[in-house]
Amino acid sequence: MRRVAALLGKEFADMRQHLTLFLPALLVALISIVIPLMVAVIVPYLTGERLSDSSDFEVALEMYKKQPELRTLDPEGAIQAFIFQYFLVIFTLVPVTVAMSVAAHGIIGEKQARALEPLLATPITTFELLGAKVLAALLPALAITMGTLAIYMLVVATTARPGVFLVLIGPRSIALMFVLGPLAALAALLGAVCVSSRVNDPRTAQQIGAFVILPIAGLFIAQIAGIIELTVPVTLAVAAGLVVVNAGLMWLGIVLFDREAILTRWK
């Protein structure tokens, strides 16, 4: 554990010199906050048109009328809750983006600096090395997600109709942000680890790792189109699928991160 902590310290010191790594994630976070805020609050306020008067949100209204927790809200609040809650799915891209950038930089950066061989000459085990790399990407990913989520909730609490905020901190959102989000981030991270062992450019690793975004984007679109409703059981089922995917990626990562493969085949 002491060796993992030593390497984590190095990774964080290195990250402080590469703060631009976090720009894509901050951009995603900004979009995730600004777009629902514009749609649910600012545009109706500026145009004077109520969301509940628009035929665009009839489906949303119908769906939310079925949910007991929304019955306390007026139609306008129910549609706002619909918008803010659905954009939470996009929010899961924040940890995914951080994890991909940091992991790709952390592993390919070591390859480019030819720093892995001296590192492997120390008593550190391959598992500790991989563990430190994964944690170094996962911890800031989760920290940034929690930070931006707090801002999101603050925005909802201060700008949306009364009661919308309380709906948003229900079990659905918690499952989405605290279970699905970290698991998606871990999948992206492990994907980046696997890809990083085969490419020499962080951008390539990020581009390949970006395929993780596709299922999340698909989930978002399916939700908006009414094809799927991310209830707690559905979210947990998707999370269970991600656990399986992560286990497979972890196995693949350990195979690819083999000490001998790093020394003899990573060029």
Binding site: L7, K10, R114, P118, P123
Partner: protein, 306 residues
């Protein structure tokens, strides 16, 4: 201190190292020579416990390197890789501190201070690695490989790409390590460097071609010769010398080159015969063959010479 017994390593179908047995002694500089792809780096990696042998074994202070002991035994070895591999965004001190912690030193800060002093770079401690010259980076990498005070040090191309002054500094540091009683294995293409610092040399071409002291290898491949510079043409003295029992004699302008086989007459006899024959001798000196000649002859010789 460090020994290898019948060490063999294959990468798929390719045989990288074949049946190498060596024994490194305390306080010696052991140089590993060989052409590219001869298995030098593979040997260092095997000895450092970075990769496992296909067959054969490595022992560190009598303890066998196994998958379960490798992590611990790596802590007893300092390994300078071919590229410095420093983290550019971190300072010199931060680079060293991470390694001191990875080696589990009880007072990592003090160990870093000590090694900075040893390498005379405390004033560069807070410089980013990216700002350092190539020579200084190599110095820091060497400091990193010694931060845990190992008694065995493996150096892969320590002066590669350095300017002559930096290379000399690194060579002095290597000699200093030997003087402290450490065992140093040096892997290099720089034969001049080996000539200057190595106590023993092994020539490798997948398998061991030869291993001995530079002097013994030189004597084995090129029997000692005496070079006599005269003030008159040397060719007129060739017969005189041959009659005196010196079999292998060459004359070139005013220089006579005479082989000594160690059993027949020696240098005093040679000088006496020449003076008696009227030679005006300007200089008498042993004819030194460079290690490069020895190395090339060894590699081109048929079969291996043990």
């Amino acid at each position: 201190m460090l020994s290898a017994s019948h060490l063999t390593r294959r990468f798929g179908e390719r045989l990288a190292l074949d049946d190498l047995s060596i024994d490194l002694r305390r306080g010696e500089i052991f140089a590993l020579l060989g052409p590219n792809g001869a298995g030098k780096t593979t040997t260092l990696r095997l000895l450092a416990g970075l990769i496992a042998p296909t067959s054969g074994s490595v022992q560190v202070n009598g303890e066998a390197m196994t998958p379960s002991s490798a992590s611990r035994l790596r802590g007893r070895i300092g390994f300078l890789t071919e590229a410095p591999g420093l983290w550019d965004t971190l300072t010199v001190r931060q680079n060293l501190l991470v390694y001191a912690r990875l080696y589990g030193l009880p007072t990592p800060g003090r160990a870093v201070d000590d090694v900075l002093k040893l390498f005379e770079i405390p004033d560069r401690a807070n410089d980013r690695a990216a700002e350092l010259s190539k020579g200084l980076k190599q110095r820091v990498a060497l400091a990193r490989s010694l931060v845990h005070n190992p008694r065995i040090v493996l150096l892969d191309e320590p002066t590669s790409g350095l300017d002559p002054e930096s290379a000399r500094e690194v060579r002095e540091l290597i000699v200093g390590l030997r003087d402290e009683g450490r065992t140093v294995m040096l892997c290099t293409h720089n034969l001049d460097e080996v000539e200057r610092v190595a106590d023993r040399v092994a020539v490798l071409r997948t398998r061991l071609v030869a291993m001995d002291t530079p002097r013994a290898l030189r004597d084995r491949m090129f029997p000692p010769r005496i070079r006599v510079t005269l003030r008159q043409p040397a060719s007129s003295f060739v017969d005189v010398i041959r009659r005196a029992g010196f079999g292998n004699v060459n004359a070139d302008d005013t220089v006579l080159s005479v082989a000594l086989d160690g059993r027949g007459p020696g240098t005093p006899d040679l000088v006496r015969r020449l003076v008696e024959a009227g030679a005006d001798i300007e200089a008498v000196e042993p004819e030194e063959r460079r290690l490069e000649d020895v190395y090339l002859k060894l590699l081109h010789a048929d079969g291996s010479v043990q």
